[in-house]
């Protein structure tokens, strides 16, 4: 499956990494709901690290949408809450 890390591009990851990412994704979700900044940062860092080390960058000529998208590696909990709440990719940004 293809995972994008915001700011770093898309990566293709295998099943093992995908399984780990699913677990980390649940932790991310719990942290967002519980407003637990420390847990959020830890899960995000672990997920980003997993994708960076286990994934292979998707070729630049391969124009496909990702299955999953991870926030910016240094994103704060507040930033991600905002992104999830109002999809703060404003219409003026990039998407024609």
């Amino acid at each position: 499956m293809i995972v994008r890390i915001l700011g770093e591009g898309q990566f293709r990851v295998g099943d093992d990494a995908a399984a780990k990412l699913t677990t980390l994704d649940r932790e991310l979700d719990a942290a967002v709901h519980g407003e637990d900044e420390a847990a959020f940062t830890a899960a995000l860092r672990a997920a980003v690290q997993e994708v960076r080390t286990e994934g292979t960058p998707v070729g630049d000529d391969e124009l496909v949408p990702a299955d999953f998208i991870l926030p910016f590696s240094d994103a704060s909990l507040a930033e991600v809450r905002k992104l999830l709440a109002d999809g703060t990719i404003s219409d003026s940004i990039g998407l024609p």
Partner: protein
């Protein structure tokens, strides 16, 4: 639902919404390409802005470093003149400047990292825009409208995600740069107004004025004490030099002979 899936759906929804608005799929391609080229320009400008901010912070670091050095000299000077109170004031101010320097150092590292990431992202977008351009011409030439639609949707969603990603990255960079510029502006003003020198009680202008007064000879006792101290600390060296025969005259003669040796070396 999972965080990662929700974020991807947000991007997908944006692309779908844009696609729905367009009637002729071939028009979509040209229109989208135009947007991509505009985005590339914006990204390159963003990278340049971050670089400018980084350089500005670097200049400020240099200025602060000089100020810190100045306080250090003042403190030594004051101690030499027996004015521990002035030395303390200068060192207190030095500590504050050092804290400010450390803050700038952090900003500098952040800007540098951001600049590197954006540069890579802009290169990636550039490559993908070129890929899209090729794909667009192929699609236009080869496929019937119905077939084209499917292929266009995929390519369009792919490039939209890339554009949304870098769009967010640029927006973050712009926000951070604006914040840093505001802080940098404040420090520039402080440096220019000399307020950095004044914001300790007593201020360093006061320190300098006091030191100048002493320097002008109003505190003869401490001057004498300082000179005595200097003589005491340099006396052993002089004795040693004298023991070797010629004292300071020897070192004055050493230079020309070294130069002569160098010239001789060049010739051979």
């Amino acid at each position: 639902m999972s965080v990662m899936k929700r974020v991807s759906l947000i991007f997908r929804a944006k692309a779908d919404k844009a696609l729905d608005k367009l009637e002729d799929p071939r028009e979509t391609l040209d229109y989208s390409y135009k947007q991509q080229v505009e985005m590339l320009t914006r990204v390159r400008r963003g990278v340049a802005d971050v670089a400018t901010s980084r350089k500005r912070v670097e200049l400020q670091m240099n200025s602060l470093q000089k100020e810190i050095g100045k306080r250090d000299t003042q403190a030594r000077d004051a101690l030499g003149k027996g004015r521990e109170d002035l030395a303390r004031a200068a060192l207190q101010n030095k500590g504050q400047l050092q804290a400010q320097y450390a803050d700038l150092e952090t900003q500098f590292a952040q800007l540098q990292e951001q600049e590197e990431k954006l540069t890579v992202a802009s290169q990636r977008l550039d490559a993908r825009v070129q890929a899209f351009r090729t794909r667009k011409e192929t699609i236009k030439a080869t496929y019937t409208a119905a077939e084209a639609q499917t292929r266009i949707n995929e390519a369009f969603s792919g490039i939209s995600e890339e554009m949304g990603d870098i769009g967010l990255a640029i927006q973050r960079a712009e926000d951070k740069t604006a914040q840093m510029q505001a802080r940098a502006g404040a420090i520039d003003e402080l440096l220019a107004s000399g307020a950095l020198e004044d914001h300790v009680s007593g201020g360093t202008d006061y320190i300098q004025a006091e030191l100048d007064k002493i320097g002008a000879g109003s505190d003869v006792d401490s001057e004498i004490a300082r000179m005595k101290g200097e003589i005491a600390s340099s006396a052993p060296k002089q004795l040693e030099a004298n023991a070797n025969g010629q004292g300071s005259a020897a070192s004055a003669e050493a230079e020309p002979s070294e130069a002569a040796e160098e010239r001789a070396g060049d010739g051979s």
